[in-house]
C-alpha cells in the first residue's frame, strides 16, 4: 500500500489577500488525483474556512493535508490566542472577528460550523495563549450528504 501523500503549506498571516491560496492548490491536486466533485468541494471549503480563521485570529499558521486511500486529513495548526470556549465558538453566528475583518464580509460566525458540516470528523485541540490545532477528516467512500444550496449561506 502506498504511503499517504502529504502536502504542507505555510499560511501567511500578514497577507490577507493570499488567504485561501492553499485550499485552491489542494483543490487542484485532488482534481488531478481524480476525486469526485463533491469530495473536492467539501475538502476545499473546510480547508478554506480554516485558513481564513488562522489568518483572522492567529496571524497565520501551517496547513498539512494527508491523502490516503480512505480519507483526506487536514491539520491546521497555529500559535494564536487559543479558543476559550469551544462550544460557544461552534455556535452558528458567534464570532470574535474584529470590525475591520467584518467589513471585508468575513466574521459571520460560520467558519467552525461550516468546517464541521463539510467534514466527517473534526477535532479541536486548543491551549489558551499557545495555539490551536484543528484536525479534520473527510472519508473518501462514504460521502456525507451535505445539503446543496445551503453551503453558500454565509460564514
Amino acid at each position: 500500500m502506498a504511503e499517504a501523500l502529504r502536502f504542507h503549506y505555510e499560511v501567511d498571516g500578514d497577507n490577507f489577500t493570499s488567504a485561501g491560496a492553499a485550499s485552491v492548490e489542494v483543490k487542484r491536486k485532488l482534481r488531478q488525483l481524480g476525486f469526485d466533485a463533491e469530495l473536492i468541494r467539501r475538502v476545499s471549503i473546510a480547508m478554506y474556512e480554516g485558513e481564513i480563521n488562522m489568518v483572522v485570529h492567529a496571524r497565520g499558521g501551517s496547513a498539512d493535508v494527508y491523502v490516503d486511500k480512505d480519507c483526506v486529513t487536514i491539520i491546521l495548526a497555529d500559535r494564536g490566542p487559543g479558543i476559550p470556549d469551544i462550544d460557544l465558538a461552534m455556535q452558528e453566528g458567534y464570532s470574535t472577528a474584529p470590525d475591520n475583518i467584518r467589513a471585508l464580509g468575513f466574521g459571520a460566525g460560520m467558519g467552525l460550523p461550516n468546517m464541521k458540516r463539510y467534514t466527517d470528523e473534526m477535532k479541536i485541540e486548543t491551549v489558551l495563549k499557545q495555539g490551536t490545532t484543528v484536525t479534520m477528516k473527510v472519508y473518501i467512500n462514504h460521502t456525507k450528504q451535505t445539503e446543496k444550496g445551503t453551503s453558500e449561506e454565509g460564514k
Partner: protein, 427 residues
C-alpha cells in the same frame, strides 16, 4: 469523447519557440517541442491569450471568410454589439448595418437584440425559487468551457440559457424564412461577425452538442476593413437599428450584469481574473452574490483579439452611441410576464469533463503524484520555461506522466556537468 474543435492555430514558420505564450496560457495548454509551440487541444479553451501575447504573430485565430460563403445563399449578418465600437466618428449604428448590406449581405440581425431578450429572460430566471446562487452567465464560450474542465461544482450555476449569439441566429433564420417563403432552411447562411476565436469554436462544436443556429463565423477585423470603404456619411442609411442601451452595453464587462437591476453582482474580465473569481466562488467566498458576469477578454467582448480598436476606446464610443437610445427595443410581451420558452434553454446539463486526471486508479494516481511532488521539490523552481513546460511543477508532471527526460532541465544539466567536470580534479 468527441474531440473539441479549436480556432487557434500556429504558423510554424513564424513561431520561434519562445516562452511568451507558454508562460501566459491560463490553462497550461502549451508546451514547446522541437523549437515551436504545441497546443494541447484537450485543455485549450480558445481564450486567445496566446494570440495576444505572441510577439511574432505566429498564433492565429481561424475564421470563415466572407468570400467563401456561397452568394446564392441568403446571407444574414449577425454583428456582435462590440462591432459598433470599432468605428471612428460613428454617430448612428444604422450606417454600420447599411454597410453590411452594401458589401453583399442580404439581411442583418443585431445580436444586441437577442441580448435584450436574454436580459429579460435572465431577470425572470433570477426571480425563480431554488436556483443556485450565484448564477453565472453563459455568454462567453471560453469561460463556459473553462468551467466544464476545471470547476465541477459550478457547472450547474451557469445559467442554462442560450447565449445571445445563438438566440440571434435562431430568430434571424426564422424571420428570414417567414419573410421569404420561397427559401428553404438550407438556403439561409447565418454569419456571425465575431470579436474572438472562442465564438468560432463555439459554433464549430455546437450548442452543447446540438448544431448551432449560426452557420459561419467571420472575423470582426476582416469585415471592418471591407466596411470602411463602403460606408458613406452623405448617404442616409435605409437599414434601421433595433437595439437599445441594454443590448449595446453587453459589449463591455458589466453591461450584461447591470441590466438585471440587481446590485448583488460581480463582473470580471481577463481570463486570469476570471479563474481567480471562479476559485473563490467555488470555495464559497462570496455568499452574498446572486449574479456573476465573466468575460475572458480584458474589458469584455470589446477586448477580443479579432477586434480592431483599443477596448477602452471602444467602450466609450459605445457609451456615446447608446446615449439617446431607448433602454431596450426588444421587450417581451407584457401578458407573458413569467417564464421563458423551453427552446431557449440548454438541451442538456452542462457536464463536468475533468482533464489532467493522473490515473483512473486512485493508488496509481497517488503514486504518480508522490513522484511528481518529489521531483518538483528537486527542480530549481525558476519556472524559466527552457524545458518547454510553463513551470517546474508542470515539467515534473511531464516527466512522470508524459515520459519527458529530466535532462531537458538546463539547470539540472548544468549541475550534472559541473559534478562530472569537478570529480577528476578533486582526486
Amino acid at each position: 469523447m468527441k474531440q473539441y474543435k479549436h480556432s487557434v492555430s500556429l504558423d510554424l514558420e513564424k513561431c520561434k519557440g519562445c516562452t511568451n505564450c507558454l508562460k501566459r496560457c491560463p490553462t497550461e495548454a502549451i508546451r514547446i517541442r522541437d523549437g515551436h509551440a504545441v497546443i494541447n487541444s484537450d485543455v485549450c479553451i480558445d481564450c486567445g491569450e496566446c494570440i495576444r501575447r505572441c510577439p511574432y504573430q505566429a498564433k492565429k485565430a481561424n475564421f470563415d471568410h466572407f468570400e467563401d460563403i456561397d452568394d446564392k445563399r441568403y446571407r444574414i449578418a449577425l454583428p456582435a454589439p462590440s462591432f459598433y465600437g470599432q468605428f471612428v466618428d460613428l454617430d448612428d449604428v444604422d450606417y454600420v448595418l447599411q454597410g453590411l448590406l452594401d458589401i453583399g449581405f442580404d439581411d442583418v440581425f443585431e445580436v444586441a437584440r437577442a441580448a435584450e431578450i436574454i436580459t429579460e429572460y435572465t431577470r425572470r430566471y433570477m426571480r425563480e425559487e431554488n436556483i443556485g446562487y450565484p448564477v453565472i452567465n453563459s455568454a462567453c464560450p471560453a469561460v463556459v468551457r473553462l468551467i466544464t474542465l476545471r470547476f465541477p461544482y459550478l457547472c450547474d450555476h451557469v445559467i442554462p440559457m442560450m447565449p445571445p449569439i445563438e438566440l440571434a441566429g435562431k430568430i434571424a433564420r426564422e424571420e428570414a424564412l417567414k419573410k421569404h417563403p420561397e427559401l428553404k432552411p438550407e438556403d439561409v447562411a447565418v454569419v456571425f461577425i465575431s470579436p474572438c476565436p472562442a465564438k468560432a469554436s463555439y459554433v464549430k462544436n455546437g450548442f452543447l452538442g446540438e448544431k448551432s443556429h449560426v452557420d459561419y463565423v467571420v472575423s470582426m477585423s476582416d469585415i471592418y476593413f471591407k466596411l470602411i470603404s463602403v460606408m458613406k456619411k452623405n448617404v442616409a442609411p435605409k437599414a434601421v437599428s433595433q437595439s437599445g442601451m441594454i443590448g449595446m452595453s453587453w459589449a463591455s464587462t458589466g453591461g450584461e450584469a447591470s441590466a438585471l437591476f440587481n446590485d448583488k453582482y460581480l463582473a470580471a474580465d481577463g481570463i486570469e481574473n476570471v479563474i481567480h473569481v471562479l476559485d473563490e466562488i467555488e470555495t464559497g467566498h462570496f455568499p452574498m452574490l446572486q449574479f456573476v458576469e465573466l468575460n475572458a477578454c480584458p474589458g469584455g467582448c470589446v477586448g477580443g483579439v479579432a477586434t480592431v480598436e483599443n477596448p477602452y476606446i471602444a467602450r466609450v464610443r459605445l457609451q456615446a452611441l447608446r446615449r439617446y437610445l431607448p433602454v431596450s427595443q426588444n421587450r417581451l410581451e407584457k401578458d407573458d410576464s413569467e417564464g421563458y420558452p423551453e427552446e431557449i434553454l440548454f438541451p442538456k446539463d452542462l457536464e463536468y469533463r475533468p482533464v489532467g486526471k493522473f490515473d483512473e486508479d486512485l493508488t496509481t494516481a497517488m503514486q504518480k503524484m508522490s513522484e511528481i511532488e518529489g521531483l518538483a521539490a528537486s527542480l530549481p523552481a525558476l519556472d524559466c520555461g527552457s524545458c518547454g513546460a510553463p513551470t517546474c511543477r508542470a515539467f515534473a508532471e511531464d516527466v512522470v506522466l508524459g515520459g519527458r527526460s529530466i535532462d531537458e532541465c538546463i539547470v539540472y544539466m548544468r549541475e550534472r556537468i559541473q559534478t562530472l567536470v569537478k570529480c577528476p580534479g578533486e582526486e
